[in-house]
């Protein structure tokens, strides 16, 4: 559905998108991630034919975004980040007007508008002036506009930005529902949202594509170690030594406490050491209060990949140190 090859966009002096290549198959829901200024909106604007790339090729449904822009525009629904609307029009009037521009035949127009009005929850405001709507309802109007002509590809730039938690959930449900019928490319800063809705993630950083895959495979692929957290009551030094002695343990940090000592452990990714760890602690007669594996989250991955000092990849528990050390920053992140 989307084919992007070596796409480059330069604004006066700034390279916003730098040789991005990816493709999206029909039916996929692709989450577009990246920090502020990474180049997400710029890429989406090129795909929706707002402006052409400086270099490279972008194709939608087999049509070139520059030379066959009309064909592309007929097939996409696009909601820009700022959700621009005409404040002087009424919701229904606007949707009917846009449906007409997008080639919905006259006979089907009223039906199409009714359908999106009800699916986006705009019934109560359909006769209101857009200018008088709250941010959430404007967002929904933008969304309704994007889908009114049943596009093959839907490009949504931060569709849930600025919504309240209830509305975020509703929009997310709607997006999931839409994802069953159309191909979807959406950008967001809410990582949990991508995990819930997207079948694939594209992570861009400083205009370059740095990771792509399902949320699970991305996290798995970047997980170079398993991490565990345990709390043990016993002689700290002795526990530390015993844990270090376990085979396959590659890293350990100990935050000493008067009573319950916290340990962060890393092992090779191949084996699950939890049983081994429990046995060691209990076998030595110490008390074990907590033992859990700390799964890497998308957020951890995001932070790790987009960290500005690219020289230091990895992160997490540092290599084995004999003396008690402060926990390394990334390992203590929210689980």
């Amino acid at each position: 559905m989307i084919e992007v090859r070596d796409l480059v966009k330069k604004y006066a002096g700034v390279t916003a998108v730098d040789r991005i290549t990816f493709s999206v198959e029909k039916g996929e829901i692709v989450g577009f991630l990246g920090k502020n200024g990474a180049g997400k909106s710029t890429t989406m604007k090129m795909l929706s034919c707002y402006f052409p790339p400086t270099a490279g090729v972008a194709r939608v449904a087999g049509f070139d975004c520059v030379t066959q822009s009309m064909e592309v525009r007929r097939r996409i629904g696009y909601m820009p980040e700022s959700v621009p609307l005409y404040p002087d029009m009424r919701v229904e009037e606007y949707l009917t007007y846009r449906a007409r521009l997008k080639g919905v035949p006259r006979r089907e127009r009223a039906h199409a508008v009714n359908e999106v009005v009800s699916s986006t929850g705009l019934m109560d405001v359909r006769r209101k002036l857009i200018g008088s709507l709250s941010k959430g309802y404007r967002q929904r109007t933008g969304l309704a506009e994007a889908i009114v002509h049943k596009p093959e590809l839907l490009i949504l730039d931060e569709p849930t930005a600025g919504l309240d938690p209830g509305q975020i959930r509703q929009v997310r449900e709607l997006i999931k529902e839409l994802g069953k019928r159309t191909t979807l490319l959406l950008s967001t800063h809410i990582l949990n949202e991508v995990e819930l809705t997207a079948t694939r993630i594209l992570l861009i950083h400083r205009g370059r594509l740095v990771a792509s895959g399902t949320p699970g495979s991305l996290v798995g692929g970047h997980q170079t170690a398993r991490r565990y957290y345990l709390e043990v009551r016993g002689p700290g030094d002795a526990v530390n030594a015993a844990l270090q002695a376990i085979p396959n343990v590659t890293g350990l940090s100990w935050s000493p406490a008067a009573d319950w000592h916290g340990f962060k452990l890393e092992s090779v990714p191949e084996f699950d050491l939890r049983a081994e760890l429990a046995k060691t602690v209990v076998g030595n007669g110490w008390d074990l209060r907590e033992l859990r594996e700390e799964k890497m989250t998308l957020e951890d991955l995001f932070v790790q990949i987009t960290r500005t000092d690219e020289a230091a990849p990895g992160g997490g528990v540092t290599q084995i140190r004999p003396a008690p050390v402060e926990p390394a920053p990334a390992a203590g992140g929210p689980a």
């Binding site: 404040p87 007007y97 521009l101 997008k102 506009e145």
Partner: protein, 246 residues
């Protein structure tokens, strides 16, 4: 061009949603009424119409910029231009619809001034209707040219005020100031091959209004104004397309 009716309807009706448009239309009626009154008071003859035409042409250099300033600048500012150009409509359709919408509104704004002709008859004058109609055709042609220039200027900025001022400066120059320069351009380069005063007179809007004011509808003048409209629309389309290389 299948989207032209829908787009034009939107452009035209947008004026009626805007309080600004009513202010402009009211101001226009007051101004034109006042000038008509002054002209009529002194002359009371057929010349009144001709003078009125010249004067309205001048007033339009002030009011047309106010009508055209929002056309594209506003959409650029609010971001709706992005929605407009990513919809499956051509840049030509966008430019033409905006032109027609503004022309429709302006014609509506001019229409009440036809009442003045009727007033002439009430005060005992016998207006030459051929002259009246020719004058109005001339005025509409002139206004169409103004609008296309205003449309193009509105497409070059996101600031409506800048668009209005710039449009006024250009219209005022082409309509009025050029008249003064016709004599002083003799010395320009290539004066042997190009007759500069003639060129300036040709470009000068007023010179193409003269025959309308005498009751003559000359196709050459119509062609002239239509070419200006064409040029303005062409430049607008190019300006819309320029996002492609910016």
């Amino acid at each position: 061009m299948t989207n032209l009716p829908a787009l034009t309807k939107r452009e035209f009706t947008a004026y009626f949603y805007s309080p600004m448009a009513y202010v402009i239309a009211t101001g226009y009626l007051i101004f034109s009424g006042l000038s008509f009154y002054i002209l009529l008071k002194d002359t009371r003859d057929a010349n009144a119409m001709r003078n009125l035409l010249t004067f309205l042409g001048f007033i339009h250099t002030i009011f047309v910029p106010m009508v055209t300033m929002r056309l594209i600048a506003e959409e650029r500012k609010t971001g709706t231009l992005e929605m407009l150009v990513t919809a499956p409509v051509s840049d030509v359709e966008i430019a033409v619809s905006k032109f027609l919408g503004a022309l429709g509104f302006t014609v509506l704004m001019i229409a009440p001034t036809l009442l003045y002709t009727w007033i002439i008859t009430r005060v005992g004058g016998r207006p030459d209707y051929g002259l009246v109609w020719a004058s109005y055709i001339g005025l509409v042609c002139l206004t169409a040219a103004y609008i296309s220039i205003g449309l193009f200027i509105s497409s070059t900025t996101a600031n409506q005020i800048i668009a209005a001022i710039l449009t006024f400066v250009v219209l005022f120059t082409v309509y009025f100031l050029l008249g003064f320069f016709a004599g002083s351009v003799r010395g320009l380069p290539w004066k042997d091959t190009i007759n500069w005063p003639e060129v300036v007179t040709y470009v000068h809007f007023s010179s193409h209004l003269e025959s309308f004011g005498k009751g003559l509808v000359d196709t050459r003048d119509i062609v002239y104004f239509l070419s200006v409209v064409g040029l303005g629309l062409f430049l607008t389309v190019k300006s819309l397309e320029s996002r492609r290389w910016r």
